[in-house]
């Protein structure tokens, strides 16, 4: 079962008031939502770490949720912020390749999900920036491998990653 926006907002308001039971349910729902949210946008081995990172951020910054506004766009902004941060930090030479048939079940995205998705950020990058980040930061290839695969020089790959991540961090709240 997926909790809807209204239910999540209600749980969050109760959590801000100190209701631990509501908070436990909320965090469980957020954990499921975030795991789906990050599918195919970070190496599978890193998804759990990132989800936990966002849950801790949510806990630390729970006062920043304004009860007068929707919950999911708030959660998505924090999720995007931590995601860009994770892409910056985890500069690995090689990591497990993404599996095409991810274990996470695909479901129909509703209007809110489409608006807040990570794909929305990627289309704002130039094709070369998106390709460099995709190969090196998400699939875990080395800069040299990415350069060979894309036909860019190694310096160009590095520059595209740097500029692409900088652009992503400025687009966290972008919805269209």
């Amino acid at each position: 079962m997926r909790a809807d926006e209204c239910t999540l907002a209600g749980l969050m308001i109760k959590a801000q008031g100190g209701d631990r039971r509501a908070y436990t349910v909320l965090l469980s729902e957020c954990s499921t939502w975030l795991t789906r949210y990050y599918a195919n946008r970070i190496a599978p081995s890193q998804v759990d770490d990132l989800v936990q990172d966002v849950l801790m951020a949510l806990h630390r910054k729970r006062a920043s949720y304004d009860p007068a506004r929707p919950f999911l766009p708030w959660l998505a902004a924090i999720a995007r912020y931590r995601w860009v941060d994770a892409l910056r930090k985890h500069y690995r030479a090689r990591m497990d390749e993404l599996h095409e048939d991810s274990a996470v079940e695909e479901s129909e995205e509703d209007a809110v999900m489409a608006r807040v998705s990570l794909e929305r950020l990627f289309v704002k990058l130039s094709p070369k920036q998106a390709e460099a980040i995709e190969l090196v930061k998400i699939e875990g290839r080395s800069v040299r491998e990415a350069a060979q695969e894309t036909g860019q020089s190694e310096s160009a790959v590095k520059v595209n990653i740097h500029r692409g991540l900088k652009k992503l961090s400025a687009l966290v709240e972008k919805a269209e």
């Binding site: 849950l55 806990h59 729970r62 920043s64 949720y65 924090i78 961090s169």
Partner: protein
């Protein structure tokens, strides 16, 4: 859900304490309080000018200070909203207003309507003093907004730093402007707008490191 996530969720739930949710109204009250403190400081240290007290200053004086105040509040509204991030938030309004404010120095430097030469405007003996005092008063608002956003969750530290600087510079300069006896277009449009630029540059360069989380 895996065991590590369940464990973390239980830990976080056990640690839960009630919190006061961020509301835009609180941020606007903070802005109002910072402006009032700025005005009190200006009144105590410099005193308000005769033109301000008697309402006899030139139209340029009211025009420039009015624009600075509105621009400052527009940026302040963006800063307040940044504490509670949300996909779909927009902040472009402040940049359009910055362009609007930029018309003042452009007109002053062109000498249209005043006949003043750019060289005379830029060598105004009281100009730098006004810009520095306006910038000093801006610190009140800057400190308040930095504290606000450090408690919140801004997701673009660079933009947040820039907007804090612009808002503080504009509100600080507008507050200090009430004590300045010089009310010509060439003085006000350059030296009272300069703190906005100073605030923007300093905020963009110095504040992001304080705002990342």
């Amino acid at each position: 859900m895996n065991r590590a996530n369940s464990f973390l969720i239980n830990e976080l739930a056990a640690d839960l304490e009630p919190v006061r949710a961020f509301r835009a109204r609180d941020g606007l009250l903070l802005t109002g309080a910072a402006v009032v403190i700025s005005l009190l400081l200006v009144a105590l240290i410099h005193g308000f000018s005769h033109g301000t007290m008697e309402g006899t200053a030139s139209p340029f004086f009211y025009l420039a200070n009015g624009l600075l105040t509105i621009f400052g509040f527009a940026c302040a509204a963006s800063v307040v909203r940044m504490a509670s991030p949300s996909v779909g938030n927009r902040y472009s309004g402040a940049y359009w207003m910055l362009a609007m404010l930029g018309v003042l120095p452009v007109v002053a430097l062109s000498g249209i309507g005043t006949g003043d030469h750019a060289h005379d405007i830029l060598t105004d003996p009281y100009g730098l003093e006004c810009a520095l005092h306006g910038s000093a008063v801006a610190l009140v608002t800057a400190v308040a907004f930095t504290g606000w956003l450090r408690r919140g969750a801004p997701v673009d530290a660079n933009r947040a730093g820039l907007l804090i600087g612009l808002a503080s510079g504009a509100l600080g300069s507008a507050a200090y402007g009430l004590s300045c006896p010089l009310d010509t277009l060439s003085h006000v449009a350059i030296w009272h707008v300069l703190p906005v630029a100073i605030g923007g540059v300093v905020g963009r360069l110095a504040l992001p490191r304080l705002l990342r989380w």
